[in-house]
């Protein structure tokens, strides 16, 4: 009897997983199928297999839509944001939880205040500011706001982790002659890899998907990021849907590849913390 239940439960697990797999994959598969269709074919038979394997949408997306350039820009911005946000947040989280000073709780609360900021409310003042500093139309104008908005949640997660590290760690290192910064970078950070990776993933996704900041703060089309580049397929009175679809497919493929590769790293990074001393 127990075996039957075990098998059923085991089977149920797979059914659930497969259900969600289909749910998540189907729309992406649909995008892939339709990237080969022409505009009118899309409206006539959106759910059938394409008539021919026509690559013209892809050609158009790459040449006219310049999807490669937008992808590169998105990558540059996202990686820069992750790097700076994670570095600054880790340092701040450490300073707030491990170093002893009176105002630490107050400052931590001020940081956490940042989680409530509605990002679009900051566009006008930031635009004025960047304009005066001549930063409009530079990557910095897009990277800085994202770093700012990533800091609160990153500090929240990282400070949670740091406060759980036993104090003996630092004491031992300092006895051995390490300075505090050295202790931080070479001992504490490696231990915090799981949280750091989690924070990086969160920051990356938010920066990668953002539409509004690049749209407003960048004016040179050569610097636009992916979400903005996709809206360029919309004309004043007509939209190149199939071109847009091809562009999206082009960008999903590298994302899948990178995630599959990095994915092992992420899991390794995360499980490292499991065997805490």
């Amino acid at each position: 009897m127990k075996d039957i239940i075990k098998v059923t439960l085991g089977g149920a697990k797979y059914i659930i997983l497969m259900f969600f797999t289909v749910l998540f994959l189907y729309p992406i598969f649909w995008l892939f199928l339709n990237s080969f269709k022409s505009g009118t074919e899309l409206f006539e038979t959106p759910w059938s297999l394409p008539g021919t394997l026509d690559l013209s949408n892809y050609v158009r997306a790459i040449q006219v839509g310049e999807i490669g350039r937008y992808f590169l820009n998105s990558v540059i911005v996202a990686i820069a944001v992750v790097f700076f946000a994670t570095l600054l947040s880790a340092m701040a989280a450490y300073g707030l939880t491990r170093l002893k000073w009176k105002l630490s709780k107050l400052v931590l609360s001020i940081f956490l205040l940042g989680m409530m900021i509605p990002t679009h409310a900051t566009i006008v003042p930031l635009f004025s500011f960047f304009n005066k500093m001549k930063l409009i139309n530079t990557y910095a104008a897009v990277i800085i706001p994202h770093v700012v908005f990533a800091i609160p949640i990153s500090i929240l997660i990282l400070s949670g982790f740091f406060s759980s590290i036993p104090k003996e760690m630092e004491e031992a290192a300092i006895m051995d002659g390490c300075s505090i910064p050295k202790t931080f970078f070479q001992i504490i950070c490696p231990m915090a890899m799981p949280s750091i990776v989690t924070v990086s993933v969160i920051t990356f996704i938010t920066a990668w998907n953002d539409l509004l900041f690049p749209q407003i703060f960048l004016s040179d089309p050569k610097m636009m990021t992916l979400p903005v580049g996709l809206t360029a397929f919309q004309g004043r009175y007509s939209t190149d849907y199939v071109g847009m679809i091809a562009a999206v497919v082009i960008t999903i493929i590298p994302s899948i590849i990178v995630y599959s590769i990095l994915h092992e790293k992420i899991i390794d990074g995360m499980t490292a913390g499991a065997v805490k001393g």
């Binding site: 797999t21 994959l25 729309p27 900021i117 609160p152 990668w208 809206t231 995630y259 995360m270």
Partner: protein, 293 residues
């Protein structure tokens, strides 16, 4: 040793960079917004000081009230959908299934697809004539349930909630899975030896130990739902007739379209207030971190 930990030099070194960036580019705009909300201005000419009039106008504004309702629906819907489903999927994968790596990649994938693309795809899926949803309802012999999902004022916000769920459940699952993997496996070994069932292990070991991350995840979900913009802007623009308007899109409309920046800032501040309430509530429900140890 304590002296070292109190050294001002180090405190500045670690905290100052983040604080400076945050104060200049984050706090300053917020203060600017507070001040701006007390004015009536299009930012091109002199504004007039109107005190709290923008806020009292908001309370009478039907569109604003509708937006708040929509945001609350999104929060509720997202919490109900994301947390349990993410937890379910995470725990299934955590308990070692074949091909877990494959499943994880698939589930995470939607969150790297840009909102514009997600909006485009789902617009087709929801299409009342040839869309998947209505086609499936036909197949299941339920034609009465068919709707014009994105054009019907009654169904549009729910349709959008489902799309958000599609996009982000995997992302939350990854976060929770990471937290689960952080748990010392020897705890599970000990529990198994003691004869505890998988469910018991989940309830008594996994859940309590990932509680901090669940709290963070809940905060992410709630604040995300309150601030959500991209997908709605692309799929419906807040329509039809403001039925899917949320605070962020309405703020955008009143700011960047009608140029009533004072009024828009007031909306932004209400959004901020709602986020604050959400975070405080999460703290209350999940318990503060300090008390745990």
């Amino acid at each position: 040793m304590d002296k070292l930990l109190q050294s001002k030099k180090y405190i500045l070194f670690f905290v100052a960079p983040a604080f400076l960036v945050f104060a200049v580019f984050g706090l300053f705009p917020i203060i600017y917004n507070f001040v701006l909300s007390l004015y009536r201005t299009d930012l091109m000419s002199e504004g007039t000081f109107v005190g709290l009039k923008n806020y009292s106008n908001l309370l009478k504004d039907k569109i604003f009230i509708g937006s708040v309702k929509n945001n609350l629906l999104m929060v509720a819907g997202s919490l109900l959908a994301h947390l349990p489903i993410a937890l379910l999927l995470a725990s299934i994968i955590f308990n070692k299934v074949k091909g877990s790596r494959f499943f994880q990649s698939i589930f995470f994938l939607p969150s790297v697809v840009c909102g514009v693309a997600v909006g485009l795809t789902w617009s087709f899926i929801y299409n009342s004539e040839f869309g998947m949803v209505n086609a499936i309802l036909d197949f299941l012999n339920l034609p009465g349930l068919k709707h014009q999902w994105l054009s019907d004022e009654k169904t549009v916000i729910f349709a959008i909630i489902i799309v958000v769920m599609w996009q982000y459940v995997g992302y939350h699952m990854v976060i929770q899975l990471a937290a689960m993997k952080n748990i010392d496996p020897t705890l599970y070994e000990a529990a198994s030896i003691d004869g505890a069932s998988k469910w018991r292990q989940f309830k008594d070991i996994t859940l309590p130990l990932i509680k901090p991350i669940l709290k963070v995840d809940a905060i992410l979900i709630i604040t995300g739902s309150l601030k959500y913009f991209d997908l709605i802007f692309v799929m419906t623009g807040g329509g039809p007739n403001h039925a899917s308007e949320v605070l962020s899109t309405y703020m955008y409309y009143q700011g960047f379209r009608t140029m009533k920046y004072g009024y828009a800032s007031a909306i932004g501040n209400i959004l901020l207030l709602l986020c604050a309430i959400a975070i405080l509530t999460c703290n209350l429900i999940f318990g503060k971190k300090k008390e745990e140890d």
